[in-house]
């Protein structure tokens, strides 16, 4: 065990942690705003990244413009998903199980659609800082990984501020926690739900754009990302975006340190054991009951 290896594991944990966190963030935000579990979150990530790949290749747009377009695309996709598939079910008073089934079906359908449009190949986005690496206390870290960590942190803080200090954010939370009460005060709960999904879609796309330069993105990745993000969100209390971040980082750290200090073959065993242990000891997630209620 050397200091360099420790730092390397730390950064691997942080980089992957923020990826899981961003996906978990999207799931948590959507749950917070609509009480539905969004299995399609991983597909938002994949589609967001591939839209940017397409815009860069086909339209030759400059990178920041393409990235912004990708996020807007994610926003529109999220909103469309809600309007086309979730809203009709809720209007018909469908239960949570029906919504979950539709969500799972949508995830499979979207993955197939991506296969049809983008093919079987894997795609990379250009990285911030290119292939440059920095040496930190003996560990070698990609410049883009540091950018990802910083952007992830900024997004999380921005979201926390949004939900606490803006009228829209507060309305979205109110509509989720108490739909009837919110309607009484003049909040359009259906529109809030659509906006929540739109926000989730935008967050997913942002996650895709941040992770695609490090990890090639392909049509099969969506479900695996959703599962990791879901684990992160559950660990954090499901309706708490900050909790999802904590959960994501915890899972990734356990994986990285497990690989480095115990054995790489058992990576999933560690991560899932920790998840089970935390859920048994803290059933309402890492941040407790208050977080579960959406506080």
């Amino acid at each position: 065990m050397t200091a360099a290896l420790f730092v390397q594991a730390l950064f691997a944990g942080l980089t992957n942690g923020f990826v899981y966190a961003l996906v978990g963030l999207g799931i948590a935000v959507i749950f917070k705003g609509s009480r539905t579990v969004n299995v399609v979150q991983g597909e938002f990530v994949v589609i967001g990244a591939l839209v940017v790949v397409g815009l860069l290749d086909a339209a030759g747009l400059p990178y920041p413009v393409a990235a912004l377009a990708g996020i807007v695309g994610g926003l529109l996709l999220g909103g469309f998903t809600e309007v086309a598939f979730i809203r009709p079910l809720i209007r018909r008073r469908a239960g949570e199980d029906a919504l979950l089934l539709v969500s799972i079906g949508l995830a499979v359908a979207m993955s197939a659609a991506v296969l049809y449009v983008a093919g079987r190949g894997s795609y990379l986005l250009p990285a911030v800082g290119g292939n440059a690496v920095v040496n930190l206390a003996g560990a070698t870290v990609r410049v883009h990984a540091l950018f990802l960590i910083a952007s992830g942190a900024a997004l999380v803080l921005g979201l926390a501020w949004f939900f606490r200090h803006t009228m829209l954010g507060l309305s979205m939370m109110a509509a989720a926690m108490e739909p009837d009460g919110a309607t009484v005060t003049g909040i359009d709960t259906e529109r809030m739900r659509t906006l929540t999904f739109a926000l989730g879609g935008a967050l997913g796309a942002a996650a895709g754009i941040l992770v695609a330069p490090l990890t090639e993105v392909n049509y099969q990745m969506g479900l695996a990302l959703t599962l990791k993000g879901f684990a992160a969100a559950v660990l954090g209390g499901l309706a708490n975006p900050l909790g999802a971040v904590a959960g994501g980082i915890l899972i990734a750290m356990v994986e990285a340190f497990g690989i480095v200090f115990i054995a790489s073959g058992y990576k999933n065993v560690f991560a899932m054991s920790v998840l089970i242990l935390v859920m048994v000891l803290l059933p309402n997630g890492l941040l407790g009951r208050r977080a579960r209620a959406g506080g």
Binding site: L5, F11, N16, R120, S122, T140, T215, A224, S264
Partner: protein, 387 residues
């Protein structure tokens, strides 16, 4: 000087002119006329993993096989009869392979079967072909012990142990390295890892650090960091994605990287980006610098598809040509046993030189291997290591 009568001379000149005219006419229409096939087609089946995780191997095999079918038919078919190749996709899944094989054997009534691209499917199909002694040409290296008992299933790719020996030969003789780091995935990589572990002591090489990751892992930097930390002279990567190569490159370990044949394709090299530069592959076909007996195939493939072929395209090509040759030799009324007997002979294929009468149903030697290194997205032939 002999005296020839006027009449005889005129006859000779007429014959000469007639002969020249006929041969010119013959030459001009030869492509259209001389190679036409007729009669009942000779049908062979192929089960390839065209979709699914092994599609990177199955699709090139399909391309090579289809081209071979075309060329075989343009050159007279199988004993004058057209060759018909029916390709099915097992989606990299052994259960699908079984159902497709059943269809090909019972309904389509194929004379022989090519398949599959992946080991589990090959073994599954073998369970159907072996009892009826239907000749099968597998596009995977021989695997579990049961396969050696299936004496009508020949293999066109090297057994895992031979792949391991090819890599270790290069490590020991060309790189003069002693400590090897190994990064492998949990699927095909595990089999390779087991072979490497078994054979390494013979080569005086130590597997100093062995790290595993799951197939489709999006980041293996932690495993790569452990390998770097162990202070190795060379890193061997067995993976079906470009991610491990990129992670190893990011860490700037500064030692040579050896990849496995499954990663040596232009698609993978493109996906690896900068990380591909300098990676060494023990493989069979280096299209940029083919061996003499591979030149024609490379040119034919390039003309048909507009790109260079690699190992798996050649394997598909060899499979179809092998069966066409064997079925022509055995004759149209031959039963399975006769075709099988004709199959178990030496063959000089494009991919490698085989001897299917060998106990491992492959008969491939280390001498069939070449070594390449990636430079600027192309493969450059490396000199064979001197013993």
């Amino acid at each position: 000087m002999r005296r020839i009568s006027c009449g005889a001379r005129r006859r000779r000149v007429l014959l000469l002119i007639a002969g020249m005219a006929l041969s010119t006419a013959g030459a001009a229409s030869a492509p259209a006329r001389a190679q036409a096939t007729s009669g009942e087609p000779v049908t062979i089946g192929a089960i390839l993993s065209v979709t699914g995780p092994v599609a990177g191997v199955g699709q090139p095999e399909r391309d090579g096989a289809l081209l071979a079918e075309k060329i075989v038919n343009a050159s007279g078919g199988v004993g004058g009869r057209p060759l018909k190749l029916v390709i099915e996709d097992d989606a990299s899944n052994p259960d699908t392979a079984i159902s497709k094989a059943t269809g090909l054997i019972r309904s389509t009534k194929v004379r022989a079967l090519i398949g599959s691209s992946n080991l589990p499917s090959t073994v599954a199909i073998g369970g159907l072909t072996d009892p009826i002694r239907l000749p099968q040409v597998a596009l995977s290296g021989i695997g579990p012990a049961v396969e050696a008992k299936r004496t009508c299933v020949v293999h066109l790719l090297a057994p895992q142990e031979l792949n391991a020996r090819a890599a270790l030969t290069y490590v020991r003789d060309a790189l003069k390295a002693k400590r090897v780091g190994l990064l492998h995935d949990s699927g095909y990589g595990q089999a390779v890892a087991n072979s490497l572990k078994a054979v390494a002591p013979e080569y005086g090489v130590e597997l100093a650090q062995v790290e595993k990751f799951e197939i489709g892992a999006t980041d293996v930097s932690a495993q790569a960091a452990k390998v770097k930390n162990a202070g190795v002279d060379v890193v061997v990567i067995v993976a079906s994605s470009a991610t491990p190569f990129r992670n190893v490159h990011d860490l700037r370990i500064g030692v040579p990287v050896i990849g496995s044949i499954a990663s040596s394709s232009y698609d993978y090299v493109r996906a690896m980006g900068e990380a591909a530069e300098g990676v060494i592959f023990p493989e069979f076909l280096i299209a940029e610098d083919p061996l003499p007996h591979q030149v024609k195939f490379v040119a034919t493939f390039k003309e048909a598809y507009g790109r260079l072929p690699k190992n798996y395209e050649a394997a598909g090509w060899d499979a179809v040509n092998l069966l066409a040759k064997v079925l022509a030799e055995a004759g149209p009324e031959a039963d399975n046993a006769a075709v099988c007997a004709a199959l178990r002979k030496p063959l000089r294929g494009v991919l490698a030189t085989y001897d299917f009468s060998a106990p491992d149903m492959t008969g491939l030697g280390l001498s069939s291997f070449s070594y390449s290194q990636v430079k600027n997205g192309s493969f450059v032939r490396l000199p064979l290591p001197a013993r």
